[in-house]
Symmetry: C2
Amino acid sequence: MRQQKVEFKSKAVEYIFDASFAMLEELFPKEKLVLITDENVFQHHSSKFEGYKTITLKAGEEHKQQNTVDHIINQLLQWQADKQTVIVGVGGGVITDMAGYAASIYKRGVKLVQVPTSILAMVDAAVGGKNGVDVGSYKNQVGTIYQPEFILFDYSFLPSLPEAEWINGFAEIIKHACIRDKAQFDFLAGKNISNFRNDPKLIASLIEKNVSIKISIVLKDEMETGDRKLLNFGHTVGHAIEATYNLPHGHAISIGMVLAGRISESVNNFTAYEQQQMTDLLAQYQLPVSFSFDKEKVWEILINDKKRENDTMIFILLNRIGEAGIFPISLSKLNNIIGEMLK
Amino acid sequence: MRQQKVEFKSKAVEYIFDASFAMLEELFPKEKLVLITDENVFQHHSSKFEGYKTITLKAGEEHKQQNTVDHIINQLLQWQADKQTVIVGVGGGVITDMAGYAASIYKRGVKLVQVPTSILAMVDAAVGGKNGVDVGSYKNQVGTIYQPEFILFDYSFLPSLPEAEWINGFAEIIKHACIRDKAQFDFLAGKNISNFRNDPKLIASLIEKNVSIKISIVLKDEMETGDRKLLNFGHTVGHAIEATYNLPHGHAISIGMVLAGRISESVNNFTAYEQQQMTDLLAQYQLPVSFSFDKEKVWEILINDKKRENDTMIFILLNRIGEAGIFPISLSKLNNIIGEMLK
């Protein structure tokens, strides 16, 4: 077990790596805990939930909607859960998002613990305090920034994770490498998913490295007025196609990164050679690097993105592999670029 | 116009007293503003809303529910309101609560301006950053603490306020006097509602005095871990009967204060003479001081109150008029006391 305390502006968060789920009972009185999970996690790890009040949600992004939050709130009220309740999100990004959001609004905020069970939630969704709920097809239109008290990384959840979820998680790991860490990019280029799936120590160390990349960026800019935006690399077009075509998050942002790379070539001197390197790495980790989509449909979602400011979209582009920057692009120029690319 | 900047932990808030609604246009570009109001306010002041994107809600506490928030969010998305949007709550406490909540969750938080139009909202609901939405009969079970950028006090809204709303507002003003300000209590004892309704300067100065009482308490304890709880005097039983019997907020907390005063007599040496003074003052301002209710029904709501901690209810009791304290009372003892009182 390795423990790291991170002082965010709003509160201090304890990151506990290589932790055991059973630690929960040591942290808080069991009767104050309410666990939120999904049917998949519950099915594979039902013994872990024994003796806990547990809300088990249907699995899948399509349930990350307000009516699921309503269900959580009603269940908490039925249990007469008071202001000293601790909500624990046990699952992938959909679950940690909804648990985080519910904790931030129930009785104007109760304590929160996150237990991410997927690679993606461990390296990204559960780290940094952002949560969100979709509104129809629009991703994360509602949410808060709310830090948990603890994040427990229990790697015993990983063996039951389907391969598709490993692939999903590596999209965010490659993103971190592209925007911040050339050494990690080169390291990843020498490996593949099987290497990590078959070596618990290797994946543990990769996860911890990526958590620290994300923390270092978030710490500088918790409220996302500057550098935190870099983490949105690949996420603007990514979110739009994810919502429209119901793609896995990792697939959507992989395609989003390829497109953002091409925009970086076109307006930011990012080289074709590096673009090829990035595309190759994504493909090596079994992520899609091309996709045909309906430009009009995607555009409509795109212009409702949180990163739009009036007639400008804030786009994250690469200067080179390992270094990203923030670029405002006018909607009309963006429309042209995307039109050109999709010809 | 008098302006006061208050530095809360999360942000600085500008309180602008004796302001004009028209100032809004000077503070932000008109096209970034989205006004939220109710049918009553809109009807009486429709000219003020000309040229603004306005969401007009049905009036009344029964609409302070999640489905109304859903409606606000959907309207914002339809208008493609971006992260630079400024939400402006123009109304009584129900409106400032819902506008504040919507601003705190839309795109993980956009800017907020409050324009309270009732006495109650001016001296209480719009001040201090708390917002809330009811869940069925349970008051404010969901919400956040989220400070606005500005609070505009435009007294030109007051002449159209019905008498019942003046009475409502004085419940909170008397509460402030009881918990913190004996001099204000004595001052109020020499006046009545008509005196204030007929003297714009007198009510303006009373409002500003009460805003400063509330701010001084909130500033010490923004997140309500200690002294801010004092503001809940009369609100525990008050909220329970308000929800159950659909009473106006001021009526409910007037009765709640009478009950809390009697509990103060029974466990805290508050004198019968002072209890009579408080009851007389509430009656002088046309507030109800007795009510017969179904103990079982009220009890069920009471035990879901946010101020319950396990088997204890945090109750605010008076030491004397002008001074309150925080007292944990076990649920069993509370049940006995309330049972005795309602015999």
